[in-house]
Amino acid sequence: MISALFLSGIIVWLAGALASLALWRNPAAARRVACGAALAGSLLDLAASAMAIFSGSAVLIDLPSGNPIFSWSIRIDPLSAYFNVTLAVLAAAVSLYSFGYLKEMEGRRNLGAFGFFYNLLLMSLALVFTASNVFFFLVAWEVMALSSFCLIGFEHEKEEARKAGVLFLVMSHAGTGLLLIAFLMLTSASGSLDFTSFHLLASSLSPLQQGAVFLLFLFGFGVKAGLVPVHIWLPDAHPVAPSNVSALMSGIVIKSGIYGMARVFFDFYGPPPLWMGTVVLALGVVSALLGVLYALMEHDLKRLLAWHSIENIGIILMGFGAALIFRSLGQPRLAALALIAGLYHTFNHATFKGLLFLGAGAVVQTTHTRNMEKMGGLIRLMPVTAICFLIGAVAISGLPPLNGFVSEWLTYQALLAGFGTTQSLARLMFPIAGSLLALTAALAAACFVKAFAIPFLALPRSEQSADAREASPTMLAGMAVLAVGCVALGLGATWFVRVFDPITQQTLGVSTSSAMIMARGLALSPGTPHGGTISTFGMAMIFIFAGAAFALPLAWRWKRRSVKGPAWDCGLPGLTADNEYTATAFSKALRLIFSALYRPRREIQAEYEVSPYYPSAIRFESEIEPTFEKHLYAPLRHRIMAAAERMRAIQAGSINAYLAYIFITLILLLLFGVRG
């Protein structure tokens, strides 16, 4: 039953991909077929994976391939099923949204090609999460990367889209290269290409190999996840893609890296050495903090959201890092808590970041700009989009009672529990990581005050913004699905944590949800003795009760006593959009405080006729230094180019020379083979 549902989902996606390609001459049909197939495939996948989680055991699907090395083996265990649920929920909402979103592109762009790559991306993601054979996994991984590349560069007439696509492709392949080496090392140890043969295998390698495999996987998957310092493609690639693709990229494609890490760290490895968890935790903290700090300086709405993906990947990895440390200290229950925190945040991030990108897409589509400084006042013109975006903003800021709060709270609890261990490095690292998580969360709240208030509130800052129109009904429906998801995952936390039992049982051998659910499902606890409790449901009920009993009647009464008047304009004639605080101004204080990191540069040129106090024109330019690009990647690129320059000598263009190279290589390989 599960395998039939799963396979029919895959087939529907594949059929949708081919059908929309075939219909490329008829954009309206291609759009309907592409989105319909994507939606249907997602629902099938959702049904299959939801059933798979609760069935508890792994579902195996082995299709014959006729090749001894390669096999189409699919294995849906609870971890795979969980990532598939995340994929299916997000993909269903995004596909619903795409019905309306793509309509505007009809006739202007090749929607057949779009539908092809879009469905292919969904299919390959489902296979990445379930493939249980190294070759099959890498094929799915590459199909995912290539279809992402085609979707990122979909608006290829823009130079930034082409550049971002190529950067993504280069980084992605560098990452895949690392993965390939790591998988080969595992394969040579196990003698099989099957994932099941790798179970706990990595821990039996020599310490040096173990460490090498770990780092290769960490950075190989880290490239996709957007881990600092291999994140640089992400803030370029996510914004230039069409917004429905951005939502998928940020919501689920980068999670393929997280899935890979979870698979390797908790399935291939047994209890790891302590340093591994420490490295993951430290990289998580750095990613979270740098992600949010760079997001604060951004006034491109979609780029800002992309930087926040790096932040949230950091928060997820803080949970994973803590889980690894607890595992090496022999604390499976605490490891389960930390793993749950990370996985919960993975799902949450897919919902709220998907929602925010869809909202941003609706805004960008109607205002024709990604620059927040040209928006404003959209809450009146796009009321539903505004509410959805606000729900996403509150959720991503980790504020109660929505889902971001629950997973961040669990992360805090995991970090705090670390102090109960006896290892002094862990005892010191955990609270410091916790305080930096607090800084990250507070900065994220500041950033989302900006990201909501500047586009949606106050007066429009440009004509496009003043003429904005509400998104179409299907787009709103797509956003509403994810908004409801944010609320449900927040209020239903005690119901949702049961989902993690099969996963922690599979990876760590413990199930903790019965200890985490308190007071008949009203309150959530970390499951540690004396751990605190929260009840997001209770908080929400109190808000609703107080709102209905006091706020609504009183507001109604006060309304009669209120008059509309102009806001205080300092006595100048009338308040205009020029007086408003801008996104750049909002983040000015933080730009100065963290100037050691940003190294801001600004240039002001004023033209005046009578006195410098009455300028007739001002040109203001401000930028911050892209630290990693400048200090890490620029020298690296320089070296590679220099090496390539020297390599040119052997590329003479003569066929004979090339044949000689091939011959020499062959001989060397044969000698190597004979010797081995």
Binding site: I379, L399, A446, F456, A577, F586
Partner: protein, 317 residues
């Protein structure tokens, strides 16, 4: 089971009454004491009640540029602050809504109120609102890590982030607050309290229409009942943070239960401790001048250092 629920509900309403009734008084006492220390006569300690009464009866002017966010914010700020207040131990060690959240939930609920206040500051389109929102979010973000380190130190001592457990662990150890870790954490949290409640040297609560203002700039466009709600919420927030500080570190006089004669003793102790802390705040406000905005990060860096010292000293002692 149902008896326990009834008890909780009664306790919640008792604490709710204490919060809303006591908060303006604390503000009034601080103002009067400060005036006396500066050899002014100052207003009566009941002035904040009169201000609230007056504001609630007035009409209000809503800026033309504002959206529904502007109208929803006072309520969200007020309710979230009250909800946070019900999660802290005030009179009894057992917080009435301790099940709904511990110290982390308190901080994040206050954060929810601040998030919406910052939005409403930008909602009006006036530059002052933007200035206030930007500064408020910046300072609170920088205060957060220091606060979390101090709280972690306390929570580690108690083994829980539940405030009932934290206060419970401190009861009976009267002199525990003299332990180095506790003192460092107390100092860090006290600095954070000053920043979070917008007091000198970080912000001046008595200022109006100055370019240095933070909180007051953010709420500049509010008038009438909405202003009353926002001001009331601000003084409740101050009371919540002050109570958190004194009852986490020095839970002397906390009663095991809310009922009977014990509650009266608990309230008297609470008032006495609040008065003591108010005196300290007044002293700090009087002998310091307001800092430049860009000196505030240094103050908060001091708080962070104190928090780290608190953490490290839990290893040593």
């Amino acid at each position: 089971m149902s008896g326990q629920i009834v008890t909780r509900i009664v306790e919640s309403f008792a604490q709710l009454f204490l919060l809303v009734a006591l908060a303006p008084l604390v503000t009034g006492v601080i103002r009067t004491l400060k005036a006396r220390l500066q050899t002014r006569r100052g207003p009566s300690i009941f002035q904040p009640y009169r201000d609230l009464y007056k504001l609630f009866r007035k009409g209000m002017v809503i800026p033309e540029t504002a959206s529904w966010i502007f109208a929803a914010t006072p309520w969200i700020a007020f309710f979230s602050t009250i909800l946070a207040g019900l999660m802290i131990p005030m009179v009894a060690a057992d917080a009435p809504l301790g099940l709904f959240g511990g110290v982390l939930a308190v901080i994040y609920l206050l954060g929810l109120g601040r998030f919406f206040l910052a939005l409403s500051g930008l909602d009006t389109g006036s530059s002052f609102g933007g200035i206030g929102s930007s500064r408020e979010m910046t300072i609170s973000a920088l205060a957060e890590p220091a606060m979390m380190l101090a709280i972690f130190t306390v929570a580690i001592g108690a083994g829980s982030t539940g405030l009932t457990e934290i206060a419970g662990a401190a009861i009976g150890q009267t002199w525990r607050f003299l332990a180095p870790a506790q003192m460092f954490a107390f100092a860090a949290l006290a600095l954070v309290l000053i920043a979070e409640t917008g007091r000198i040297p970080v912000d001046n609560p008595a200022t109006h229409l100055e370019l240095t203002m933070i909180h007051e700039a953010m709420i500049l466009e509010y008038s009438g009942p909405y202003l009353a709600l926002v001001e009331w919420a601000a003084s409740i927030k101050q009371l919540v943070l002050m109570t958190l500080l004194i009852n986490c570190f020095w839970p002397v006089g906390l009663q095991p239960l809310w009922f009977g004669f014990g509650a009266l003793i608990g309230i008297v102790w609470l008032l006495a401790k609040l008065l003591l802390l108010s005196c300290a705040i007044v002293l700090i406000e009087t002998v310091n001048a307001k800092m430049r905005l860009f000196r505030v990060p240094e103050l908060l860096a001091v708080a962070f250092t104190l928090g780290s010292l608190a953490l490290v000293s839990t290893f040593l002692f």
